[in-house]
Amino acid sequence: MNAIEVRDLKKRFGHIEALRGMNFQVREGELYGLIGPDGAGKTTLMRIICTLVMPDAGEVRVKGLDVRQQRTKIRSLLGYMPQRFSLYPDLTVEQNLHFFAELFQVPEAERRARLEMLYHFSRLGPFKNRPAANLSGGMKQKLALSCALIHTPQVLVLDEPTFGVDPVSRQEFWEILHSVQKEGTTILVSTAYMDEADECDRVGLCFQGRIVAEDTPANLKRRFSYPLYRVRGSNLFRLQEFFRSIPTVHSIQMFGDVLHVSFTRQPRAADWQAWQTQTGGGLQEWKTEAPSIEDVFLEVLEEEK
């Protein structure tokens, strides 16, 4: 049995079709990442899984339980961390944790052990008497995660948990997720940071209310069969124009201060030198590059269009 099962899921809000027949499964104990641009339907999907929104059509099961009929049961075995920090800023770290432990009816004895463990995980122990409002962004996320984990859920759903958090805290956060996974918890996480996809067992690329590709990060990257180069130059925009005119170029993507250029045929060293002269030295550096999830994603989107 899969931990999460989604079949032909459809949901519309007025004129907007948020989900148009979504299909995917999260296996027991898996860490599954949902990747996609804003408006792809990730949040709606998660809210349906958490029984906060009713689906229009299709079937969603969490641990075999139907989201339409068995909401209460699902809620007790599911942990959900919404996109926005949503705890009580005027209550302390400990009061927040206690409050959610109480609502989930975690037995007193178990609660203490669980708190100890979560404090250890999150390193929030020294801050337990601090009002949540006075925590840093990273600590807030860890507190929200701890609150979602307080009742030892079997399935954890996280909606862009690392959004707006500094890189160090993000790294820490993923480490915590890995240890949670080791406890046997199934995790569904969405993210807008493509580099985080590598942390997941499997990744689903979400676009316009559908999963357009799904596999392990390694397999996904292997799909990108075109030779890829990382290119630097004095004027990236002019360089981009230039490569558009080369017939063997398959795609050009701008990534910060570099271009990722892929080719339908492996270019030779002579080709590069010729291009350098043609651009009058504007082309400065080229190197082969292993495709990232982002390259794959953009490629898949091209195909979709």
């Binding site: 906060l52 009580y88 009061q95 109480e102 609502l103």
Partner: protein
């Protein structure tokens, strides 16, 4: 069941964590009580009086003295002419003028009926009316005294005297505080629960904690009870606080049953908390909820007979006040406080108030259930 208790405890933790909230709950009502009890007064006291005395006799001085004997009038000075009085009135220095014609004393002694003129500043109609009433009362009594004196001296009275004995019931001294303070209790039981319920729920939505609560096993009705019960508790605490201060330091008399008071308050609190929940389903932010609550409250107060007597309203507006639950509670509370009325006299209002309470709370809850989904 336990979950409700945890919700309630959380609410109180939040209330006591927030100094603004504490100020709002405990300081503001007391300030309100002091301010309103002293400022919204219909007592007319210390009216400024100017006297134009053309007679300059024992009797004319006696009349002047009678006016200044009570704390109702304050003599600001003697004027030489009516024109001077007009100037004083224009300068806001005197509200009433008493003109005593020459020969006043002489006519009085002869048993004739001398005339006095009273000029009142009519800008503030209410005060003018009351002042005139006071003046007539004083002069009537004086006339009767004179008549008695003359009778004793053997001169027959000019007319048969009809003596009017005035007696005020329920509020012997016409002390407006006795009337206003129950009104303040009503206002408090309107604003505090309504704001607490509406802003509390909207705040949970604004913070996103509402969603977080919805994924816990907490049921929607438990969530609502977790908001309603603290609002009730706070409202009762407020009421006790304000009444203690009112009784102890304002000398407000509570003639009725406290139990009845608590019972009627509960019915009314259902209404105001229900309104709060209703407002919360309409609004997106605490600011909006605050604005709506104020709007509803102002309407209720203006149409509730707190300081604008309903009897004085145009017919259409008077009919509209029947839709205002505060109107009934205002009557009931003043009845209980001042007249000590029992359920025998109040059951009709109780029925209406209960009807309002249950339907508004019911509607609010239904709307909330639908909205949260």
């Amino acid at each position: 069941m336990q979950c409700i208790f945890y919700m309630i405890r959380k609410e109180f933790l939040q209330v006591f964590r927030d100094p603004h909230m504490i100020a709002l709950l405990f300081v503001v009502p007391l300030v309100q009580l002091f301010l309103l009890a002293y400022t919204i007064t219909t007592d007319v006291k210390h009216l400024t009086l100017g006297v134009v005395d053309y007679d300059r006799s024992v009797s004319s001085r006696e009349v002047g003295r009678l006016f200044t004997n009570s704390d109702r009038f304050e003599l600001v000075g003697y004027a030489e002419s009516p024109r001077q009085v007009g100037d004083l009135m224009r300068a806001w220095q005197t509200q009433m003028a008493l003109l005593i014609p020459a020969g006043f004393h002489r006519d009085l002694q002869r048993g004739l009926r001398p005339q006095l003129q009273i000029v009142v500043d009519g800008v503030d109609g209410n005060t003018a009316g009351v002042a005139l009433g006071y003046a007539q009362q004083i002069l009537t009594e004086y006339a009767q005294d004179i008549a008695l004196q003359l009778q004793r001296l053997g001169t027959p009275p000019a007319t048969h005297q009809l003596r009017l004995l005035e007696r005020m019931w329920f509020n012997l001294d016409l002390d407006s505080k006795q009337f206003m303070v129950p009104g303040i209790v009503v206002v408090l039981l309107t604003i505090i629960p309504m704001m607490f319920a509406s802003m509390g729920l909207v705040r949970e939505r604004e913070l996103g904690t509402l969603e977080q609560l919805m994924v816990t096993p907490l049921k929607r009705h438990q969530l609502l009870l977790g908001k309603i019960i603290p609002a009730l508790i706070l409202a009762y605490v407020e009421m006790i606080l304000v009444m203690l201060v009112a009784v102890l330091s304002f000398g407000i008399k509570m003639n009725g049953s406290y139990l009845l008071l608590a019972f009627f308050s509960l019915l009314y609190l259902f209404t105001t908390i229900g309104l709060g929940i209703f407002i919360s389903t309409w609004t997106q932010s605490q600011q909006q909820a605050m604005f709506f609550s104020w709007f509803v409250m102002v309407f209720m107060i203006l149409m509730g007979g707190f300081f604008i007597p309903i009897e004085n309203m145009p017919v259409l507006l008077r009919k509209l006040t029947y839709l205002n639950p505060m109107r009934y509670f205002m009557y009931i509370l003043r009845d209980i406080f001042l007249k000590g009325s029992g359920l025998r006299y109040l059951w009709r209002d109780a029925l209406i108030l209960g009807l309002f309470g249950f339907s508004i709370l019911g509607l609010g809850v239904a709307k909330f259930q639908k909205r949260v989904g």
